[in-house]
Every structure is written in structure tokens, then in C-alpha cells.
Symmetry: C2
DNA sequence: GACTTTACTTTGATAATCAAATAATCTATT
DNA sequence: AATAGATTATTTGATTATCAAAGTAAAGTC
């Protein structure tokens, strides 16, 4: 098996397991998977406009408009209207949204610690470096 | 920033970007995201029963029953009834299902090659090894 | 200024999802 | 072997997520 094939396999396996873990965590929470994903995107990457957020989430802006409406109603995100381009709006977490995101992120951190508990500090740093390079290429 | 925090960040970022890529690839195909995920799970991990497949996909068996019904109707998966446990059924790809999975997997392989084009052969092997360890811990 | 593009929303229809109830089968205990 | 309990899958009813396409408003282009 070539190194590309082997790498492809472990990358997909990691992705699948992460998705599965995320689903089980979210099912125990008060929010839907789509909602948590939206909060995560805004929490991890900061405020952004609808277009960017939709792309980031892999959904259409139409779907996102509905989702943001609900999250606004729940008090978790806010819309900010831009002066420089009045077509565009900036979506951001409210304080409560940030709190929920931080809670969810803490679960992610626990998972990461669990997953890498057998790795040395050097290995962790190598992994950060290599994955960082991959992420840049997307 | 601790190595755990840094690692958590790149892992989440990789997961997000993979999900986003997958969504854009699937939108251009004839099948839905849920359908492709089902085909991928069966193609990557082999035939399995409803319970395992639902867990793997992060959905309930009720949802999966509906999904499998559709895929059976489309001729992409088959149900096999077990002799040793007649409550359980085994779900597997048909030949056509395998063809579609292989096509989708080829896209994944292209992506992997693109993402790792700047890495050395040694780096790729290190990454395979480290990610393999993480995957085992899930 | 007219035309095109861009950003977002709305609408109408479909697909995905869950929780809970049901049915069939298996396992364990007595 | 009879009963009770657990497991596996399906069905049902309701909700949520989703898309494509059409609509609106603002910005960019020529």
C-alpha cells in the first residue's frame, strides 16, 4: 500500500470517528448538530459574514439564514450590520453563545487529551506541525 | 499555548475542512450527504449490521432504516438476513454501490495527495503512524 | 445611468432526523 | 421450559435541516 493510500485511510478514519464522537456528544446536549456546528465555526474562527459561514459549514446561505434566525431567537448569536457594505452582515456569538461554545470546546480538548495520552511531547508537536501543513493546503 | 491546545485546534480545523470539502463534493454528485456517508462507511469498513452502521454514522437506527430503504431501492446496498441471529441483518454494498464508493474514494485520494504534496515520504509515514495511534484511542 | 454581480432572505418542497412505540428474537434465570 | 429482560430492527408521528429557485437590496462595472 502506498503512503498516500495509507494516509488517506487514516485521515478518513479520523474524520469519521470525530464525526461520530461529535454526534454522540451533541445528542446529549440541548442543541442540534447543525446548531453546535454553527456555534463552533463562529467560536473557532471568529465573526464572519453569512457567505463565509455557509461555506465553512458546507450549507447554502438560505439554510443558514433560517439557522441564524433560530440562534438569534435563542440569544446565542447576533447579526451586525456593516457600514462599508450594507448587503453584508457579520454574524457573531453573544456572551451566552460564547459560554456554550467554550463548554463544547472543553469536551473537544478532553477528547484530544484522551486520544494523545500515549504520545510523547515531541510526537504531539510533530503532529501539530504536520497537520498544520495539511490544513494550509485546503 | 500547550501542545494539547495546539493539537486540539489543528485537529478540529482539519475535521472542519474535511467536512466542508465533503459537502462541496457531494453537492455536485447525484446523491445526498447522508447517502454518500452511508456508502462510504460500508465501503471503507465493510458490511455490518444496522446497529453498528448507525453508530458509525452517528444516527439512530430508525433514521438508518429509512435511509437503507432508499439505498436498496436505488440498487446501491443490500440487506442480508443472518441465520445465527435472526434479529440482526447485515447491510452491504451492491456492485453498483461499490462502483460509486470507489469513485468517491478516488476523490478522497486526490485530496490526500494534494494536501500532502509538500510533505516528504518520511513525513507522510510519521503522520500515518501518529494518526493511527489516535484512531486506536477512540 | 444601465447592466451585472454580490449578499442575503424568502418560499415551497423534499429529505433527514429523533424519540417513542412496536415486533421479533435471543439470553439468562429459575 | 417458562418467564423476564435485553437486543435488533422497523414503524410512526412530529420536528428540523436542507436545497433550489425566486426575490430584494446594495455594490461594482462599463
Amino acid at each position: 500500500m502506498s503512503s498516500h493510500t495509507a494516509l488517506n485511510k487514516v485521515l478518513i478514519e479520523f474524520y469519521d470517528k470525530m464525526a461520530s464522537w461529535e454526534a454522540s456528544v451533541v445528542r446529549e446536549s440541548d442543541y442540534s448538530l447543525a446548531q453546535v456546528h454553527t456555534l463552533e465555526a463562529l467560536g473557532n474562527y471568529g465573526p464572519m459574514n453569512m457567505k463565509s459561514l455557509a461555506t465553512q459549514l458546507g450549507i447554502t446561505t438560505g439554510t443558514l439564514t433560517v439557522q441564524v434566525d433560530k440562534l438569534v431567537k435563542l440569544g446565542l448569536v447576533q447579526r451586525f450590520y456593516r457600514e462599508d457594505d450594507r448587503r453584508s452582515i457579520t454574524v457573531a456569538l453573544t456572551e451566552e453563545g460564547q459560554t456554550i461554545h467554550q463548554h463544547h470546546n472543553a469536551l473537544h480538548l478532553s477528547l484530544t487529551e484522551e486520544l494523545t495520552k500515549e504520545l510523547s511531547e515531541d510526537e504531539r508537536q510533530v503532529l501539530v506541525s504536520l497537520l498544520g501543513k495539511l490544513n494550509q493546503e485546503f
